[in-house]
């Protein structure tokens, strides 16, 4: 089970969406799709055409910068962060 932490900009957009929750998923994209099943429209707020992570969001798996394809382990933590600056991919 992965512990997911969502940004404060996201939670007001969906009824009863908490900042922290748990999902059973194999990758970051899979986690977002499982959240989509519970909160329709949520995937679109995080993922753009491609599919690609929206440009000004960052994701971290167990503290490491990640992307949509990054695998999740049995006890991973997934942080989704609304970036306050552009940052650097590499």
């Amino acid at each position: 089970v992965t512990e997911v932490r969502l940004p404060a900009t996201l939670t007001p957009l969906f009824v009863a969406l908490p900042r922290r929750l748990e999902v059973d998923a194999t990758t970051v994209l899979d986690a977002f799709e499982r959240l989509e099943a519970r909160w329709p429209g949520l995937r679109d707020r995080l993922v753009e055409e491609g599919p690609a992570l929206r440009r000004h969001l960052h994701v971290y798996v167990d503290g490491q910068r990640a992307d949509l394809a990054t695998p999740l382990g049995p006890d991973s933590r997934l942080d989704v962060v609304a970036a306050i600056s552009g940052g650097c991919q590499n």
Binding site: P7, T9, L10, P12, L13, P40, G41, D44, R45, L46, E48, E49, G50, P51, R54, R55, H56, L57, A82, A83
Partner: protein, 357 residues
Amino acid sequence: MPKTLLTIATRKGVFLLDSDDRRAWTLRGPFCEGWPVYHAIFDPRSGSIYAAAASEWHGSAVWRSRDLGSTWELSSEGLSYGDDAGRKVSKVSTLALAGDRLLAGVEAPGIFESRDGGETWSLLSTLSGQPGSEVWDDPGHQPPGHLGISGFVCDPADSERFFAVVQGVGAFETEDGGSTWMPRNRGLRRDWPAEWEEVGFCVHKLVRSADPRRLYQQNHVGVHRSDDGGRSWTEITEGLPSEFGFAAAAHPHDRDTAYVIPLDPGHGRLMPDGRATVWRTRDGGSSWEPLRRGLPQEAAHLGVLRQAMAIDDEDVPGVYVGTSTGQLFASADEGDTWSEIARYLPSISAVEVAVLA
């Protein structure tokens, strides 16, 4: 007494202003979680308010309120070019009602429609196949302000017929609900080399007058008038202090009366000389008069964007102007006198007005 509702789209959400007499106004907002909103409209048939928005973090969506602003929800279901199209919806710029359809104009240029009041969307057209579109619609050729659909003009008598403006390219009209399109830019001036005869014009704002055949437009270079439904255009800039501006409005009952807000061209794009002025013609553009009573006349360095002037359809129409520094000016007498009805708002992208029964 009818109630007047102003829907104000700003860089930080939607604001609403209500009035029973067009003099005392009540401000509500911000709504839409403070997302950048580019246009907001009221649908008199459903009673809904729709807002075109694009969050830097969470993408583009259209917000809707079914209860005049008390509660809001958003949707972008179907508001996408898909994973394989090679183009993205980076912003919803403008909205319009065409019969029972809600239209959304987006960047990269495309038109989406909703037939269920903004809950789901589908792609109507990208205007592909128009002259030069393989060049001007190439993402590598985007101008500084990006390229998108910047406005619609619908025909109240025929919901299958409407114009869409592509920023920096020109105006196009469909007569079959969006399946096929015709450029409508003949006679417009352009001060740059022409790559294509019928496109390559910088239409900032297109408006229809009380006479459906009479249109006005504020262009990057000049104000222009059409008397044949947009098939040909004549320049009517003479008498204005600048050929450049964004906003325009047409009187709902008199085809010869229209309004523009000339701005200094170049990077500043502010009202000339720090004097806030709306200009009005009463004779179809043969002459123009400055409207200044009640508008700030000293050190008022104000800009007004293309969707930020609106006019209501009362017998004596009210005119409304929102600035990019968050002031809102209103006139209840066709522009003769003005007052500031809101200040300290975020940068205003668009103003629309509806008169509620």
